[in-house]
Symmetry: C4
Subunit: 259 residues, 4 copies
């Protein structure tokens, strides 16, 4: 896949050499939201999370607070910084609208996460592991007693340091599953209900669709997305062997095939 | 895989430095059909869609209308622009025949898509997901109520704007499955019948073989191919769990194993 | 994986700048056996075919006839041209022995393919698909009526052109499975028996071990290896669904789960 | 994934150009522990072994004996040499503590391997194959009669040369499985017990967590990790087909589905 994307990057470099640069989206800092969104989209594409224009990502600039959003319906792995929408976080008006592009249908959902969870970044994938788990789980995904759970926040904060406390190995991770709707923007009600009902959740699975994951920093949102996807994949494999993903330690032996 | 292909690209660059360039196939524009076909073949190879000389791709030049086709029997991930056949779309005569190469056996099938669907590009893969679905589906592949379906065209056009309308989440995607033949060119009759019987289809699965996908632009053909492959993979996983891929929302719970 | 291997390539470039170059193994031609073996090993490593020093490859120089063989027990994805053994094809003596390395234990098997099949290259992988098929097939692997079979030779030659004729879609591919032995070199007897019993075979599966694939050119050996691995993977998936990989067209529906 | 990581490497190069270099971690030698740890983390990330800050690696400098350890809780695929902790092997005091980082929770486990096994490197992954095998195996993972086993040490040494003797094809590989604990550092007791009970083991699986693998050189630790992961993957596939991974040669046919 590298070469194909190299070709895309060549095209991008030609654009970078133009004299009319927009400081909102053109930066030499690889961590600038307009650059990191493009980089992450290539990574997510190679993971089969956002194939065929599916999925999306939004990042808040850590200094200016501007909200960067990839446009609707483009091939995300070919995304370029100059294709980015930029929104003022207070007025929620676009301060940059790339010509010929439509805003992402995910925008209202991204905004719910920004407003209600004070998120710094929101990732939306069409992960097949999320879709599969939404078929054999009902209202909530549950997995327990797996080390990777410890990468995810419990919702509690340390009373002294104020830092996030993560789940422990012996905890159960709960992720609400909401029903899909005909139009992505109509998911907002379901998402808002889930945010209210699961105040500690850092992700929502959308049945037969994919998932939304957010975090207090972009790095944390990325880590949460990777850890949850790992757990959804593992849960699907456990289900295939007949093991309930949230069963107690040792209980799995009751379900496992013997020879 | 990157390095291996890098090696191939090095060889390609040596060719690019030669003084005898053919403007039909040598261009610095990464979006030129002769370049993009090579790029996409490397991507498709890394996805296991065109391994071992299998599969193929044809692209119509958006300005000249010339039809570019990769030759028969070459390792597609090593393809170079100067190996391309080029055809005049009106006379259907080759205006460029690379020495020592045979035209692709897929050519008559590509031409059916160009003529009958006004396609701008046709992709042919040996996707294992397509082969697997052709084993457990009969005359038509069906999947319903999955978000990724929305990346695919319904065949309807907006009466005001004239733009393609895609399927909705609640629709069922139908892809006809035709029987394979001893010689690839003999697939043309089956393909033509499927094109007539399924006027809205943007793809045909060939049983125990792979699939053909086309679109009104190269970008759309690529997106359709990715979205369909994602859905074929998901359908195979659903089948493995005993869930009919086209079942109604909620009905999957009837089929799912309980502990 | 790309970056990790990039690091290796950097190390290689330093070696290339040294003044004491051995023309047997140092060439700027990416198709030189010493270079292409290194390139292919990186590709095969990324396919999980030669992980952890497993597997190997040997290529005959198309002009000199010298036989190039990667050494024993090295990490194949980090292989460098100067680590190559080179053998005179007539005397079967090494004309180059890299200091500190042992010849590959696969050497006697490579030599059987060179001698008895006039091979130009031999590929040995630890493909998990080959190991799996060796567990549920007995003396011979069989698959039928799959398009990818057409990439493989029938053993017949066109009486007019003298060119190899490949299998047709309606044919059955047979690959003999031999028993593994404690020492790789002891496989030679089993391989020689299989070569005699299956004069048209271009590959042999070694039970619980992997496979050997060869061809009249390096390109053909590579294509055969890819096509066979694709078919072994597909056969494993068919077996998981209860479908015999060599069943007649349409017969698969008898075995497929209905809802 | 290549491009995303390329972006990271660009950032790294900027750091390398700074004038304040710390010779403990800045070296042009790609084999220097601080460089090879970063390279291997990118490889392991692309293998899904250390996703979402999980996993870790420690390497002893072959000349100075200094122990290099990646810090806690960082995204391992973005690791930079200047983020490394460095420990004096005799005093076990840190001689380099990167500002703002916490030592890895794996450190006591790495130290057990260094002390009790004279390891030169220790790799810790969250491999899903290790987690899956820990669900259907009880106190010890066992697999037998698979060629890849020969990449692993038997614990015996050649009485003449003093070199490690590897397992033979007809041997059974045993890897102890220890119970997971709430805190990674509390695994030390279980690891020490396993090291004592299985004096020939070069790895320990941690139930519902992942595994630790070590070796007398970094290259050997890497090869052992790859070979074991290959065998864990294969064992999971065998289990799915109902075949006990340690069954005798030929016995698998008793368990295999017939049509």
């Amino acid at each position: 896949m590298a070469l194909y994307l190299d070709g895309c990057q060549c095209a991008s470099k030609q654009v970078d050499d133009s004299t009319n640069k927009d400081p909102l989206v053109h930066s030499k800092d690889p961590k600038h939201p307009a650059n990191i969104i493009c980089q992450l989209c290539r990574l997510f594409y190679s993971n089969n999370w956002i194939t065929g224009t599916g999925g999306g990502i939004s990042v808040k600039h850590p200094l200016t607070g501007h909200i960067y959003i990839a446009p609707s319906g483009v091939q995300k792995e070919q995304l370029q910084p100059e294709e980015m929408f930029v929104m003022d976080p207070k007025t929620e008006d676009y301060i940059r609208t790339p010509e010929g592009y439509k805003p992402s249908a995910c925008t209202p959902l991204f905004m719910s996460c920004y407003r209600q969870r004070n998120a710094a970044a929101v990732i939306h994938t069409h992960s097949q592991h999320a879709v599969m788990c939404s078929l054999f789980f009902d209202k909530v995904f549950e997995i327990a007693n797996i080390e990777q759970i410890k990468a995810l926040p419990s919702g509690q904060k340390d009373p002294v340091t104020g830092k996030d406390i993560n789940l422990s190995f012996f905890d159960t991770l709960h992720i609400p599953i909401i029903e899909n709707t005909a139009h992505e923007e109509d998911l907002t009600d379901g998402l808002n209900e889930a945010l209210a009902a699961y105040p500690n959740a850092t992700a929502v699975i959308v049945r037969r669709h994919g998932m939304y994951v957010w975090g207090p920093t972009l790095d944390k949102a990325k880590v949460y997305n990777e850890a949850i996807d790992y757990l959804l994949e593992l849960a699907t494999k456990m289900h295939q062997l007949g093991i309930p993903p949230a069963c107690a330690i040792g209980e799995e032996k009751k379900y496992v095939k013997t020879y």
